[in-house]
């Protein structure tokens, strides 16, 4: 679908969404969805929920009898304030997601329902790879580039780099662009032996360039130097500890994921690093067992981190667009372990400074037995590619 069609359709949401549910789903299967590259006015940040987050447990149709009978009572919660209405269904935010509800009310969050991959896989590792390569299937792959590398190719400025706020670089950032993963920048970058060692090691790697490890070592050393120069403009020769970063917002960052990675991104932006694309992983969403407790903890980590990040960036008057994605939603029916197994349709969130107010995106496919994918899972009515494309549109256009 082209951009105009897309925007026309999205404006219909909330009024006749259910009408489009079945049609769009059929149409989706016929298309190969392309990721676009749209230059943003602020950075595009992805927070990826590893393990398959239970969208139905974050925004729950608590008054739908299908849902009530499918889920163990311990997976339900008392209705919360400010539910979302879509296609005749009321969705309630999980108590630990109250920060999302607040962000939505202030026009800084748009939930997107029934999103995911247009692919039947219920494997974490296939589904993650599909998204991280920006494709819909893995049989015929156009290239080996990651999703973010594809989006950034051609529009990332030469002095910028892809940044992952974690200890390893995600598949989504692999490819031919400059990229680095650092989980925690709270004390800056401490390089053993200071800049002198860094320089001589870069020389050794350069001389030893016939070895395949030479390129990643040289690239990393150059990036470490550049980043430290931004964080500490005096660039003292010893790469010493620098002052810890302090958020400008009221909600503190915690020392857990994804808070730490987001804090690192905030620090880079605060130091005027020309950052355009960033990624943070958040693990722990594979809740096959003991979901009530796990959801409380994991969702709390996520919502508090995003709240802290948003407050921090607002106070700094920085624009940004952040998309929360996961590889798939979870099974509609809970299992006997008070958990949920791998499912299909999930929930995405778009958070940021340039969003339409009070909007809910997506086509609610319904959760009656006949509406479920394979009779067991929430259907996918919007491919993740469309979520990203729309988020980038918003990030591009001043509202």
């Amino acid at each position: 679908m082209n951009r105009r069609d897309f925007i026309n359709k999205t404006t219909l949401i909330g009024t006749s969404a259910s009408l489009f549910g079945g049609i769009s789903q059929f149409a989706l299967a016929q298309k190969s969805h392309q990721i676009q590259s749209i230059k943003q006015t602020g950075p595009l940040i992805i927070v990826f929920l590893r393990g398959g987050a239970d969208g139905l447990g974050i925004l729950s149709p608590l008054e739908d009898s299908n849902f009530i009978s499918a889920r163990s009572p311990q997976l339900l919660f008392a209705p919360t304030e400010n539910p979302i209405f879509i296609a005749g269904t009321k969705l309630f935010w999980h108590p630990q997601a109250s920060a999302f509800s607040e962000l939505m009310l202030s026009g800084r969050l748009v939930p997107w329902l029934a999103t995911g991959i247009i692919n039947e896989t219920r494997s974490h590792f296939e589904a993650q790879e599909i998204i991280e390569r920006g494709v819909s299937e893995l049989h015929t792959l156009p290239d080996s580039m990651g999703l973010i590398t594809k989006i950034a190719a051609g529009i990332m400025s030469p002095d910028s780099f892809l940044f992952a706020g974690g200890s390893n670089l995600p598949r989504a950032m692999q490819g031919n662009l400059s990229a680095i993963a650092i989980r925690d920048l709270q004390n800056g970058i401490q390089f053993p032996g200071g800049v002198k060692n860094l320089a001589v090691l870069a020389q050794l790697a350069n001389v030893d360039r016939a070895h395949p490890a030479s390129e990643p070592i040289q690239k990393t050393l150059a990036l470490l130097f550049n980043i430290q120069k931004y964080l500490d403009p005096s660039i003292k020769l010893d790469f010493n500890k620098i002052k810890p970063y302090e958020s400008q917002g009221r909600t503190p960052y915690t020392n857990s994921d994804p808070s730490v990675g987001l804090r690192s991104i905030a620090r880079l932006l605060n130091s005027n690093v020309p950052l355009q694309y960033a990624w943070v992983d958040h693990g722990g969403w594979d809740m096959h067992e003991g979901q009530p407790n796990r959801m409380n903890n994991t969702l709390n980590q996520l919502s508090q981190a995003l709240k802290a990040f948003d407050e921090d960036l607002q106070a700094q008057q920085k624009k940004y667009t952040l998309v929360v994605l996961t590889e798939f939603g979870r099974r509609f029916r809970s299992n006997g372990s008070n958990g949920t197994d791998h499912g299909h349709g999930g929930l995405s969130l778009v958070i940021g400074s340039n969003l339409p107010k009070n909007k809910v995106m997506g086509y609610w496919p319904g959760i009656a037995e006949k509406d479920l994918n394979r009779g067991v899972d929430l259907a996918v009515t919007t491919p993740y590619q469309d979520v990203l494309n729309q988020a980038m549109q918003w990030g591009h256009i001043e509202i």
Binding site: T121, R122, A199, L204, H211, A213, H288, R374
Partner: protein
């Protein structure tokens, strides 16, 4: 070239730091503050002892519950350091990563020493089918992939799915588009399905219901399982009705553990499993881009010896033979932080002592350390993953820290075998031969230039030489090696 000094590993003389504040157990009893060094004591502990470290128990102070995992990581490090045959530890670590468990989850980590010894090390030279059952019935795996709580009625699919996708068939044999159309799976009607579908996952999950842990949980009528932490089969939780897995019919009421064992048979003897494991092995031990021909022949060895008690050793030797026909430059593999440290310690003849003064933290920060990968697909392999930008700085710190003795792990003698009367040139060329197998004047000249060293000057200061040697070992060429030995074992 590898080391002559005997570094020993005696768990009773290897200490880890235990330090925490006073606190309370869940039932309100108090425990005192602790700040001491304790020898490793849990490596051979039985399951009952280790069960006390799970979260369901209340007899170990919470800050101490990570100890089983810490001990096992230290033991892996030490076994690598003392090994004269590093390929053996690489083989062990391949299987540890293949049946990956996440020991930072307290309930899983509690059993990790027993798992390391009784599942990984005991079986990794033996038979795959036996290893698979050892894994499937070990409390660490039963907790990790939740089969412990799986029961008839609404089985937990976690273990069954990863058994198929990760431990055996592999994702290439997942025919996801067929979902439940089992008759469309080629070969299924004759009981020889080429791959699996979601419905096979559901059926297999039913087959494993009742495979659980003696964890004190209620089995009805106020009857409780004992709290001994070992495997048990609870008939009351098993789904006894008929099943169909990969087109093979399972009759109802097959008998104790028969359904689950039948699934393990199907998995262990399938061509797809042989291919999946062969592909991973060739990638891990020979080349990041594994040659197809070697994968094929390795899969053949896997299947031809599927009932042999030394099936896996035969596969190892097959890989050794195949690799011996390949030039060294085509079988370089990036090394893990533990191997990087061990190689440096061994080549420098360092009198290494494990000292819990930050060294372990550095090892764990420099890459994917044992039992630390959260998802069951296991630690990534390959140059790109191991030398990811996030790890390079920590790898450099690891080598420099060892060379300069930051953590009191031991000082090595840079004048060893050569005496203290040589020039910088003589010394460094000697060390290049040790580190790289041949001289690397291109590298040492950079060091001389950078530090304005006159190569013919006499090198006197051992600390300065040690530092230069450390820098040499941070070169790209030290980051990879040929993993397999020249001859079969």
């Amino acid at each position: 070239m590898e080391n002559m000094t005997k570094i020993s590993f005696d768990p009773n003389k290897t200490f880890i730091k235990i330090k925490y504040k006073a606190g309370k157990f869940r039932d309100g009893r108090e425990y005192p503050a602790v700040d001491e060094k304790r020898p490793l004591s849990l490596l051979n502990a039985d399951l009952k002892t280790l069960f006390a470290y799970t979260s369901s128990n209340d007899s170990i102070p919470n800050p101490e519950r990570g100890r089983p995992r810490q001990e096992v990581v230290v033991s892996i490090l030490m076994r690598n350091v003392i090994s004269q045959k590093p390929w053996e530890e690489s083989w062990v670590s391949f299987w540890r990563d293949h049946f990956s468990i996440f020991a930072h989850d307290q309930n899983v980590g509690a059993f990790s020493p027993h798992w390391e010894e009784n599942v990984i090390r005991r079986h990794c030279w033996g038979n795959f089918r036996e290893m698979l059952e050892a894994a499937a019935s070990h409390p660490a795996m039963l907790y990790y992939l939740n089969n412990r709580s799986s029961r008839a009625g609404s089985a937990n699919e976690n273990f069954a799915r990863e058994l198929f996708e990760l431990h055996t068939f592999g994702k290439n044999a997942y025919l996801k588009d067929l979902y439940s159309d089992w008759k469309k799976v080629p070969g299924a009607i004759d009981g020889r399905a080429v791959g699996y579908i979601d419905e096979d996952v559901y059926e297999a999950a039913r087959a494993f219901t009742g495979w659980t842990v003696n964890d004190g949980s209620n089995i009805g009528n106020n009857k409780k399982l004992p709290e001994t932490g070992d495997f048990t089969y609870v008939e009351l939780r098993h789904d006894n009705y008929q099943k169909r897995v990969l087109g093979i019919e399972f009759p109802s009421y097959s008998g104790t553990m028969v359904d689950g064992r039948k699934v393990l048979d199907i998995c262990s003897f399938h061509t797809a499993t042989a291919h999946h494991i062969a592909t991973k092995l060739v990638k891990r031990f020979i080349n990041d881009n594994p040659p197809k021909k070697i994968i094929e022949s390795t899969a053949d060895v896997f299947l031809n010896h599927k009932n042999n008690s030394d099936q896996l050793k035969k596969i190892f030797n097959h890989l050794v033979q195949e690799a011996s026909l390949i030039p060294n430059s085509n079988k370089q593999k990036a090394i893990t932080p533990i191997r990087l440290a061990s190689k440096f310690i061994s080549l420098t003849n360092m009198p290494f002592i494990f000292n819990d003064q930050g060294f372990l933290g550095n090892i764990e920060g420099a890459g994917f350390s044992p039992y630390s990968w959260p998802s069951p697909d296991g630690i990534p392999d390959g140059m790109e993953a191991l030398l990811s930008t996030g790890f390079i700085k920590e790898r450099i710190a690891l080598i420099q820290g060892l060379a300069e003795n930051w953590w009191q792990t031991g000082e090595f003698d840079p004048f060893i075998d050569i005496g203290s009367s040589g020039s910088y040139e003589t010394l460094l060329s000697f060390w290049e031969k040790k580190l790289f197998g041949h001289e690397r004047p291109d590298l040492r000249n950079q060091l001389f230039k950078f530090w304005k060293i006159n190569p013919s000057d006499k090198a006197i200061n051992p600390r300065e030489i040690a530092k230069l040697i450390g820098l040499l070992a941070c070169s790209p060429s030290f980051q990879s090696e040929v993993v397999l030995p020249k001859n079969i074992i």
